[in-house]
Amino acid sequence: MSDPTTSMIEAVGLEKSFGSTRALAGVDLVAETAKVLALLGPNGAGKTTIVRILTTLLLPDAGHASVAGFDVVHDARSLRSVIGLAGQFAAVDELLTGRENLELVGRLYHLSKTERVRRSDEVLERFGLSFAADRLVKGYSGGMRRRLDLGASLVGRPLVLILDEPTTGLDPRTRNDVWRFIEELVAEGTTVLLTTQYLEEADHLAHQIVVVDEGMVIARGTADELKDQMGGDVLEARVARSADLEAAAEIIARFGEGPTQIDAELKRVSIPTREGPSGLISAGRLLDDKGIGLEDLGIRRPSLDDVFLSLTGHGAGEQPEPEILAQPSYDAERSHS
């Protein structure tokens, strides 16, 4: 379905059910070589099921998939020698040292003794863990463990790195470190598939984004293409008093279409709009007439949060997946226009 020299992961019509639960209902994917493909979606959307199929941990009920040309069912063992997986929960061994963890993984990739020692040293150095190389992982901080977990997935120098929610639960600094490592790896030619619930993560890292919801792909494209699909901008107001939030939302809703998003914590309401400056001015006048104090009012390009909201139709009031909407979007605005 696509040129094997440019696509590293291909999946066609993947289906998987667990009992009566349909986890995947026909998923198609293509990841290009040396690019980042992000699977974006809420918990339970099917992202992890896709990862488990691509890493040979699960067999698909229907459809087929290949990584680096190896079929997930028929060439599973060959496939395993070209991938690296780092998980949501760092699967490193607490009772081994950092170095022992890496050397064990190297051994299981069937590297020679000298090669696995050398690569373990390189990984430790690159991930800033040399100082703790011979300490038990038990004493590592959460960030150090995550770095080691990521490092372990690189010992085999994989063509394809698969990261299942690589930054979930990380503090912002460590998360930025992980992002930087991913960018460096891609610059060196590694293909990365990552899953994330965080729109800003997909926005920041991914060349291609596949939005998954309820086991289906509901949109795909670059971050900009997805934003364009909304076909407009976002009208957003930040009120001075929380008490005015409802009233402001009601006024704002008149100048846009689609669900109104309310962020109580940031005292912010927003809605997709096509009205342009005249809408902005009218909205400002109406809000002022009602005596609603504003801290900010403006029209901006949509963030991926807005896109996700308009794609899934999950309104801010009926959050099926609180994690998604609770993820603050201020970083996305800060790091990208």
């Binding site: 488990r52 890493t55 040979t56 941990l57 699960l58 680096a68 063992r77 060959s78 395993r80 020698s81 070209v82 991938i83 997986l85 998980g87 929960f89 699967a91 061994d93 009772l95 081994l96 022992e100 064990l104 993984v105 051994r107 299981l108 990739y109 069937h110 690569r119 390189e122 990984v123 150095e125 690159r126 038990l136 372990a152 690189l154 085999g156 120098r157 994989p158 063509l159 460096e184 790896l185 060196e188 030619g189 590694t190």
Partner: protein
């Protein structure tokens, strides 16, 4: 910047026995390191059977009449078997822990021999059991236990006990994979063991039990292995007990290798 992760198309070698053995050694080494690095667990694992020895040797032993010779010589072969079996409960806990923490998942995404995860764990258990039995021999000698068999028979008895423990490691591996939870694994492994070890000839002669229990107690594998070890160590080698024990342990081994491997291939955390 180093180019540590520059992807290279790796040489994809077919799985060979040599690679499978190397994988097994890697896993066994990992598990042994984990054992050595939980000294509290090692300490209490050693204290428990020592308490048993002291309890039965000095508290209950006087009240138990056993055929032929000192009670300590009757007791110690049972302690050797008990120690390899009770130690095996840790295999179940270890498998369940690895499954729960995603370690098994990571192994299953590596190009390693899948059998090595189980083979490596049971190999590590065999090493641990060898030390445990050695320790119990030393404790036994301190409280009056003596070898009465030929050197060959004495060594044979210990090898038989260790082989039986090895076969049971596969049972425990299957238990750990079945229950998938470390705390449950701890208890789940213990219940059948308790029945097998106490409804046996381990601590009291079977002839003192009610008749309905005797048939089971005389013919179940733990009794057979203890009797075989006892006769080998006592210099009264009974061939039939030894052969029946070997057949039992081979049977347990083959069935549970099959069961554990199947469960491992299906297992997902």
């Amino acid at each position: 910047m180093t180019t540590v992760a520059a992807p290279m198309h790796p040489v994809i070698a077919p799985m060979t026995p040599r690679l499978a053995i190397s994988d097994t050694i890697g896993i066994a080494q990992r598990n042994l390191r984990r054992m050595v690095r939980t000294p509290q667990l090692l300490f209490f694992s050693a204290v428990q059977p020592i308490m048993f020895v002291l309890l039965f040797r000095y508290v209950f032993g006087g009240a138990i009449k056993t055929p032929g010779g000192a009670y300590v010589n009757y007791l110690m072969p049972a302690i050797f078997v008990q120690v390899v079996l009770f130690g095996g409960a840790q295999t179940a806990v270890g498998m369940a822990t690895d499954l729960k923490e995603g370690v098994i998942d990571r192994f299953r995404t590596l190009p390693m021999a899948r059998s090595a995860v189980l083979a490596g764990r049971t190999l590590a258990d065999l090493v641990r059991n060898t030390f445990a039995v050695g320790l119990m021999v030393a404790v036994g000698v301190l409280v009056g236990f003596r070898f009465h068999g030929s050197p060959g028979a004495d060594v044979g008895a210990l090898v038989l006990v260790l082989a039986f423990g090895y076969a049971f490691s596969w049972v425990f591996a299957a238990v750990g994979l079945a229950v998938k939870d470390p705390e449950t694994a701890q208890v789940a492994g213990f219940v059948p063991l308790f029945i097998l070890v106490f409804a046996s000839s381990a601590f009291v002669p079977v002839s003192t039990m009610p008749s309905w229990l005797r048939g089971f107690a005389n013919n179940q594998p733990v009794s057979l292995v203890i009797s075989a070890a006892r006769s080998l160590l006592g210099g009264t080698a009974s061939q039939s007990n030894v052969w029946r024990s070997v057949i039992w342990l081979m049977g347990i081994f083959l069935v549970f290798v099959f069961v554990a491997v199947r469960m491992f291939n299906k297992a997902s955390s």
